[in-house]
């Protein structure tokens, strides 16, 4: 076995997130700023305090698939919706804020 073959496979997905921006294509994580849980929904303006408390502070914090915002701050400056696994860092789907993304089972 030569030295080259012994070299571990270099898999970018394992060492860095790569995010498919709907406008720019596949880009490295370093171009994005994370912006948190994309499943929380702002309540109506006349909602009670409890509604706003939930919206601002409470999070499911799942161990597994998480739908979240990444701001393409060093690219097109759009918000990208991303389904990413918080245990493996694998990205399953990306889309525009208007898209409904499929969250994988388990």
């Amino acid at each position: 076995m030569n030295a080259c073959a012994m070299r571990p496979a270099f898999n970018r997905d394992k060492i860095m997130h790569q995010i498919q921006c709907p406008w720019c294509g596949v880009r490295d994580e370093a171009e994005f700023q994370y912006k948190g849980d994309a499943t929380v929904v702002r309540p109506a303006d006349d909602a009670d305090e409890a509604g706003f408390f939930r919206y601002v502070y409470l999070r499911d914090n799942p161990k597994g698939w998480h739908t979240e915002w990444w701001h393409h701050v060093a690219g097109c400056r759009q918000f990208v919706k991303v389904v990413r696994n918080t245990l493996t860092h694998e990205v399953a789907a990306t889309g525009t804020p208007a898209d409904t993304l499929q969250v994988p089972e388990s």
Binding site: D28, Q33, Y34, G36, V56, R59
Partner: protein, 444 residues
């Protein structure tokens, strides 16, 4: 004579021998220079295990979920201070395998808000007497912590924090660039972007050997009757009439009068078992150790403006880190962009580390709360008590965290020091946001 007998019996007799048991008990009671000498003469074959490996009983007075620093400290103070010894610490892996073994070992109490200041100062005082208290060498080293400042505005902010600390009886000194240079000559004082103008020094800050903290608390708790149950994962919490009454584990059901959670990193997962939703997210924070080098740095230096901090371990490795990777994660590893960022910060402020090789790096999972401050409190669920939300600052808090959590569990009410670390503070508008960045855990 004792060491000879111990050596003979340990080697030749079964453990059931009365003489062996007696000598074992006599030897395991106390670590001292004398015990090391005796054991050294006996070839170090008489040391006994520092804590038992008990089979879980069907019921306990108190169960603490999580055998990390905070859980073990809680059990220790429950037994020692409150006389509650029918306690089990339940750990899914091995004790000290989580964040108490994954931090950068720094202790300090340089906080500005009263809710934090008195709590962390209590922790510092416990650190100062800890080794004598639990009879274990935790290598507490008060080598000082210097926060560098680079502008007049930053100096003013540090002066304000230092004054708040001194008003609370905590040691703090604002030092100028010459004094920083005298203490840490190898920094890049004339950095074009961040020239060093001085620092806020806490002389009593420093480092501790982190694994020894878990081991010392475990040994101290065990010797007072606490059962430390490893490789036992809690898979559910049984409720009866709105009260938490038992835990389901991979080693069976265990009931308890009171159940405390000290699993920071996974607090959301345990809280969900009793139907609690919490204002926190789990994030990954990386840390790094270089190869061992000769003495290079005899204090702790933080370069907040460049997201970098560093100290040197007694073994010689430079121990350093930076900020969170900045996205929700339960993986105990981070990504390369943050590694590169931390290395760049190090090169900017301490260029001499450029030829030192990185030896190891790892990640830990942080409970990031929405204000950067922790929880030590009762909860809306009777019989369920919460310790968590330590963000990236849990290690230094370990003694006071266990001390306050034990107080809260034993007395059904918080101590003055943890009075403000409630879940309800968010709904009540009493956040303890030391950094002032709002409910964005990834930048707390």
């Amino acid at each position: 004579m004792v060491y000879q007998a111990a050596r003979y019996t340990a080697a030749e007799h079964p453990a059931s021998s009365l003489a062996f048991t007696f000598i074992q008990a006599a030897l395991s009671m106390r670590y001292s220079a004398l015990s090391i000498l005796k054991q050294g003469l006996g070839g170090h074959r008489g040391w006994t295990r520092a804590w038992r490996d008990p089979t879980p009983k069907p019921a306990y007075d108190v169960i603490i979920i999580g055998g990390g620093g905070h859980g073990l400290a809680t059990a220790y103070y429950l037994a020692k201070v409150h006389g509650i010894t029918d306690v089990a610490v339940i750990e899914k892996g091995w004790i000290g395998g989580g964040n108490v073994g994954r931090n950068t070992t720094i202790i300090r109490s340089n906080y500005m808000f009263p809710s934090n200041t008195y709590f962390y100062e209590h922790s510092m005082k416990l650190w100062e007497g800890l080794e004598q208290d639990f009879n274990f060498n935790a290598m507490v080293s008060q080598r000082g912590v210097i926060n560098l400042y680079h502008s007049d505005a930053q100096r003013d902010a540090f002066a304000r924090r230092g004054n708040a600390m001194r008003l609370a009886g905590v040691d703090a000194e604002l030092i100028d660039a010459d004094e920083v240079r005298r203490r840490v000559p190898l920094l890049d004082f004339d950095n074009a972007r961040f020239p060093i103008e001085g620092g806020l020094l806490q002389p009593r800050g420093g480092t501790v050997r982190h694994d020894a903290v878990a081991w010392g608390y475990a040994r101290g708790a065990d010797s007072r009757g606490v059962d430390i149950i490893q490789n036992c994962e809690v898979t559910g919490i049984e409720m009866k009439n709105g009260r938490a009454v038992a835990v389901q584990t991979t080693r069976g059901r265990i009931s308890a009068n009171k159940i405390g959670s000290a699993v920071a990193g996974h607090t959301s997962k345990i809280a969900q078992m009793v139907g609690l939703e919490l204002p926190l997210e789990s994030h990954v924070l990386q840390a790094f150790v270089s190869e061992g080098i000769k003495p290079h740095l005899d204090t702790v230096v933080t370069f907040g403006a460049g997201h970098f901090y560093i100290s040197q371990s007694d073994k010689g490795g430079l121990v350093y880190g930076g900020d969170l990777d900045g996205y929700n994660s339960y993986a105990q590893r981070g990504n390369l962009p943050m590694m590169e960022h931390v290395m760049a910060g190090g090169m900017a402020i301490m260029p001499s580390i450029g030829r030192v090789r990185l030896l190891r790096h790892w990640g830990g999972v942080m409970d990031m709360t929405m204000d950067g401050s922790p929880f030590i409190c009762r909860t809306p669920v009777d019989g369920f008590y919460l310790n968590g939300g330590w963000c990236y600052g849990g290690f230094k808090a370990t003694p006071a965290s266990g001390w306050c959590f034990a107080h809260t569990i034993a007395n059904e009410e918080p101590h003055e020091y943890n009075r403000d670390f409630t879940i309800e503070r968010f709904a009540e508008g009493r956040m303890i946001d030391e950094k002032g960045v709002g409910p964005n855990p990834w930048i707390q």
